[in-house]
Amino acid sequence: MSPKTLYDKIWDAHLVHEADDGTCLLYIDRHLVHEVTSPQAFEGLRMAGRTVHAPDKTIGVPDHNVPTTLDRANAATMTEDSRIQVEALDKNAKDFGIHYYPVSDVRQGIVHIVGPEQGWTLPGMTVVCGDSHTATHGAFGALAHGIGTSEVEHVLATQTLIQRKGKNMKVEITGKLAPGVTAKDITLSVIGKTGTAGGTGYVIEYCGEAIRDLSMEGRMTVCNMAIEGGARAGLIAPDEKTFEYCKGRPHAPKGAQWEAAMTWWKTLFSDEDAHWDKVVTIRGEDIAPVVTWGTSPEDVLPITASVPAPSDFKGGKVDAARRSLDYMGLTAGTPLAEVPIDTVFIGSCTNGRIEDLRAAAAILKGKKIKDGLRAMVVPGSGLVRAQAEEEGLAQIFIDAGFEWRLAGCSMCLAMNPDQLAPGERCAATSNRNFEGRQGKGGRTHLMSPAMAAAAAVTGRLTDVREMM
């Protein structure tokens, strides 16, 4: 048998049909739905008189729109259009009989945090969701990617997707990370190197010592941003850490089924002689704590660097950089560590898990945020929030001057009331620094939770290593 990559193996195990022209029908093991990209899909089913093919493999949770303030049980905190979307999901979940975590459930949270937390996401699975950050689930050695609403409807109706196979790309991070360098710095540094279109048409497998050394939560952070590098999916071969994480979760297999699953899961790795269409290698030791300076996730620099000039770039990027600097209100040559901020946002499917909150709290313990700064922590799920309270992290955030919120997507995409004002500059642990992403005219600098916490203390972009 010819050697295969991990992606090849998962693909082959889910192939229902392949046409002569290479168009494939791929079986989907888990379909996650949220309130923003699903209403039109459910409506389409109704209009055609169709049902959900596999409601047991379909999991719904509202996250994008929901308020994160403590008074959110009061429906008046939601705008009418948001409330209609959440109510539509409530109704669709009930009518079509899918698994559901409503806003009132302590397990509610960001769909990409809830899936792994509840054991829905397992190695070797195909996982889709009408959200581009579905790549997160690739951390388990699952083939996971975002889909559009027409495809959501297609998966609901058939439990399959029409696909063409992508190419294989290996991203290897060798060696050890230096102190203060995190999974977020890895994933941003990769995008900084390959560009936001570098992964287009590929599925990325992240590997190497620095990736193996990451916890499952760190691996989720890395895979989460595969899409920011253009790759629909990023994945990491499962290992003992993966199995340990999955074991005992509510929807993970038990007993004999667990043993059977483990037997297969242990075969899920890329064969030694597998063919790679593209290989990128970065030395772990060369990765620094980074921040973004522009309006594309590829605009990445070490915190010790200065704001670049448009003339530092080539081609279409010259104009793009000029536009970015203008939008961001930055002058070329300014040291990044001198850029003052107004707001800090810690949360999102990229960095809203318990280890992210621990890393931020470790920096904030016994300290206060800079006077006049607005700072909020939005845990990724109700269970993350409860655990952070139990561990005393919530109190550290509150004592430092942070708002301690309920779970949701919040200011990562600002569909709920958590938004930046025009010109407001934010140190954010989320995944996109696009124009207007966190609110019209808002300026976003992406970074790790520890870096965001350090910025909260000083009121400017800060090298976290100075505070360790």
């Binding site: 975002g146 439990q159 279109a197």
Partner: protein, 201 residues
């Protein structure tokens, strides 16, 4: 789905790289439970000034391009989120074909589900079409999906590649779900086998 066969129309030039889905349709317009009506908010933040009036400098607000049916643009168009609201807004505005050196995967895929033809061409050929589009309303381009060609207002013809299955679906306005349901026996067979080989799923 609306068929796409052949289109002759005005092409709008938008010479920017990395136009993301937040630029195409900002998040505040995603709170709809319908597919229609998003055209008025296409490129909202670039298209309107803070007071809500039209930005006269934005290409689709210029008299020549208000009825554009083709968009010629820069690399990595449609990067970012999976929101199908982006192609819905483009289609609702009246644009049926987007030409660029490259597209983000999910956006590219979403176009075909909505009767929009995304065409990938080398940068030099996009540059030719960009120049042609810059001539304004009198310079009409023709996109012929059957022949897989684009003809400029000067009569220069450029060929493009398109996946055969996607072309077939676009030209005939076929519904993917209907096509897949014809393969229901294969799906059932797969599920029966998986119930034995991967019962935990």
């Amino acid at each position: 789905m609306e068929k796409f066969e052949k289109l002759t129309g005005i092409a709008a030039p938008m010479d920017m790289i990395n136009i993301d889905t937040d630029m195409i349709i900002p998040k505040q317009f995603l709170k709809t439970i319908k597919r229609s009506g998003l055209g008025v908010n296409l490129f909202d933040e670039m298209r309107y000034l803070d007071d809500g009036s039209e930005n006269p400098d934005f290409v689709l607000n210029k008299p020549a391009y208000r009825n554009a049916e083709i968009l010629v643009t820069g690399d990595n168009f449609g990067c970012g989120s999976s929101r199908e609201h982006a192609p819905w807004a483009i289609k609702d505005f009246g644009i049926r074909c987007v030409i660029a050196p490259g597209f983000a995967d999910i956006f590219f895929n979403n176009c075909f589900k909505n009767g929009i033809l995304p065409v990938v061409l080398p940068q030099e050929q996009v540059d030719v079409l960009m120049k042609d589009a810059e001539k304004g309303a009198n310079a009409r381009m023709t996109v012929d999906l059957d022949a897989q060609t684009i003809t400029t207002s000067d009569g220069e013809t450029i060929s493009f590649e398109v996946d055969a299955f996607r072309k077939h679906c676009l030209m005939n306005g076929l519904d993917d779900i209907g096509l897949t349901l014809e393969k229901a026996p294969a799906i059932e067979t797969f599920e029966a086998q998986a119930a034995t080989s991967r019962p935990w799923v």
